[in-house]
């Protein structure tokens, strides 16, 4: 029984670790989409985050500086994406796909020298008091700083969206930008801020992969996590708290799958590797099915550029 208990703790901790990059990206996309902008480029942005985080850590020999480099890159991407999709009113679906291509291209091109190198990443820090809570302490509070930070971000996003003026403004802009404009909200500004915030969080999610999760950089290392994050946004019906659950659920599947591979079974790793994607599609089916259709709170103007005024 003790054995089972310890395995469970390891699994759950692994689930959180594996879910964290997706949690960041999902939260980022929730903020972005709540303001009415669709950013399908998460996969590319995460790659750039992973790459820039890695290179920052490598050169400065400090994972914290690596994270800051990733954040700066996130800001930069956010500004570029905003200029195209908000100011120049580009098609957001195409722009997102191009962002993916750009992320793949840039990270592979510039990262060619980084492949095969390793870094010392972030180490877990046990939180005093909290980590001594039986079971929960070992699962939740024996992790690295970025995981703690993600807990905080979930709460901040939730409170911001539902309890504050700023959140109300974001929801206004996302649902009906024209009405928001008539009551004096600067739609363009709000959307810029949300997109840039979203890109920062996504970039941190990518950086987590290289700095904390693997300590290496390889081409296309996100392997679809950006897309899974987009699916989780739909699953969570744009709610940060549900995104929290969704990301860890995904992390759990991934952790179990990796665990099975590690124990060594007859099941091919290729089949096991499919599980997260299949799981994501199943989740999408449930989330999009008609029964839930009208409880979904997709922002009304999602994906539609704001055409300033008539």
């Amino acid at each position: 029984m003790d054995n089972f208990y310890s395995v469970l703790i390891i699994l759950l901790a692994a689930a959180i670790k594996s879910g964290t990059p997706i949690l960041y990206a999902t939260l980022g996309e929730i903020i972005t989409e709540r303001s009415g902008v669709l950013n399908l480029g998460l996969e590319g942005i995460m790659l750039i985050g992973a790459f820039s985080g890695f290179i920052g850590t490598f050169y400065f020999e400090n994972p914290y500086l690596g994270i800051i480099v990733a954040i700066v890159c996130g800001i930069f991407i956010g500004i570029v994406y905003s200029i195209f999709c908000i100011s120049l009113r580009a098609n957001q679906i195409v722009a997102g796909l191009v962002m993916v291509i750009l992320g793949m291209g840039v990270s592979s091109y510039l990262g060619k020298d980084m492949i095969g190198k390793t870094i010392t990443g972030l180490n877990p820090v046990s939180l005093p008091y909290l980590s001594s809570i039986p079971f929960l302490g070992a699962v939740l509070f024996n992790a690295d700083i970025l995981i703690y930070f993600s807990y905080i971000i979930v709460i901040i996003t939730g409170v911001l969206l539902y309890k504050t003026k700023a959140g109300l403004i974001i929801r206004f802009v996302g649902d009906n930008p024209v009405a928001s404009d008539t009551i004096g909200i600067d739609v363009i500004k709000v959307r810029y801020i949300c997109v840039i915030t979203g890109c920062i969080l996504t970039s941190i999610g990518g950086a987590y992969l290289s700095i904390v999760y693997t300590h290496i950089f390889i081409e296309n290392m996100t392997s679809g996590r950006g897309w899974i994050a987009i699916a989780l946004v739909i699953f969570s019906s744009w709610d940060p708290y549900k995104a929290f659950l969704g990301a860890y659920l995904f992390g759990g599947i991934n952790a179990v799958q990796l665990r099975i591979q590690a124990i060594g079974t007859n099941i091919s790793p290729f089949i096991l590797n499919m599980l997260p994607y299949i799981f994501t599609i199943l989740v999408l089916i449930i989330a999009s099915s008609k029964r839930f259709k009208y409880s979904l709170s997709a922002p009304g103007s999602l994906g539609i550029p704001f055409d300033v005024r008539p």
């Binding site: 929801r171 206004f172 009906n176 005024r309 008539p310």
Partner: protein, 522 residues
Amino acid sequence: MVLTTVLEIKNITKKFPDVIACNNISFSLNRAEVHSLLGENGAGKTTLMNILSGRIKPDSGNIYIDTESGCEPLLQKININSPRDAHKYGIGMVYQHFMLVENLTVFENVIFSLKNLPFLIYRKDIIKKIEEISREYNLEVELDRKIYELSVGEQQKVEILKVLISEAKILILDEPTSILTPMETKKLFLIINKLKANGHSIIFISHKLNEVLQISDRISVLKKGKLVATLTISDVNKETLSALMFDEKIEPIHTPPYSNRGLEQNRIEKSIVINNLTLKNIRNVTSVKNFNLKIKRGEIFGLAGVSGNGQDEIAKALFGLTKIEDGEILINYENISNNSTSDIIKKAVTLIPPDRIKTGCVSDCTVTENVLLRFYKSNSFSRFNFIKKKESEVFTEKLIKDYKVVCSGTRIPLSHLSGGNIQKLILARELATKPSVIIAVNPTHGLDLASSNFIHQLLIDSSNHNITIFLISEDLDEILAISNRFGVIFKGELMGIFNNENIDIKKIGNLMLGIKNDQALI
């Protein structure tokens, strides 16, 4: 009382790609005055007001406002670059198409207009403030309901509430009565008078002569982007105003009583029979319940009601566009309940949809492609599944000619046509299918009088050719103008059926609000 000017606009001009919406317009507003802007649809009223509320920038011209800075009223030139500026100068607008966020509550929609809204929102203090205002002006609405749950009348209250909370001194009401019943209009006028008494200045935009005469102190008439005249209420009557509004003398078609018009024997024949119809709307809420109706062949049957009371769902159900939960629909004695749209089309039924841009046509496609929408499968326009291009072009040209649709060619995108011409084209196309039943939903909504008359005449002619017309309209005047009989719908229930003779408008208005007995509303 000394009249003080609070707002003045001078020589405002605004050009759009195809029209000059405002041509050198000057206009002023006094304190505690109701100044009406009267003009046809498309005369430029709304554009002018959008300039004032900061949504549109004028090409030239200036705006002056009384800033109340000194003891002497002083008009100061201002720039309104955004709605925020308009707010700052105390100008609030109640839009015709409400500017509300449907998925949020009344409370959330309203509080933004508060000056100094704190970052963390404490409900209690704010609610107190809102309730004060809503009580004073009879604008009580439940604050926790979502906007989409409200009737249009209630939504308008929210809009007015929003403007009042923002402490605006100048209120612009854009066609506020177009969605109201006669009784609700009266209530609105009471509110306006109270606002006036409290020192607010109001710009009232309308195309309805009677209402303007009732409420205004001064009236400015707009025609094709030009300000024709500004007159004091004592100087005008209906005739002078109408002469100013229209180029030539055109009157709306209005020739009841119709109920006896050509009542031949075959009129006993029923064309549409609806039994116990129950429908759900797109939010999956039952919006029509146990609805019964019989419409005779060749009559124009009107269905009056405030928008959002189930009319759209009934029209959709008749055309196979929504699932019938319960009950049945017979057309020409054939049960068409839950048949597919293409099957219903085959039974010579046709629909003129409420939203001509969204449903009735494909604005990115060419005129010919839009005409083909009804005919692409027929043998005259396709062979072995290949479309006959030439025949379609010729046919389209003929329709354009026959129905006097103004357009520069058959291959231009439909979006280049004006609203009136698009509606004419849709009607032309539908009539060309040789229907036996036409369901027309708000067919003249937003059109100028000439186009409306043209369409009304076409409908009357069709009914004279024994085509049944089910006219569903939010515009009671339209129904009274051309229908033989009409019903009133409220919350998906039929409140009564009337022959279009000696109608007591007050009673109909009450029925539209769900009030059955003769109790007075106010």
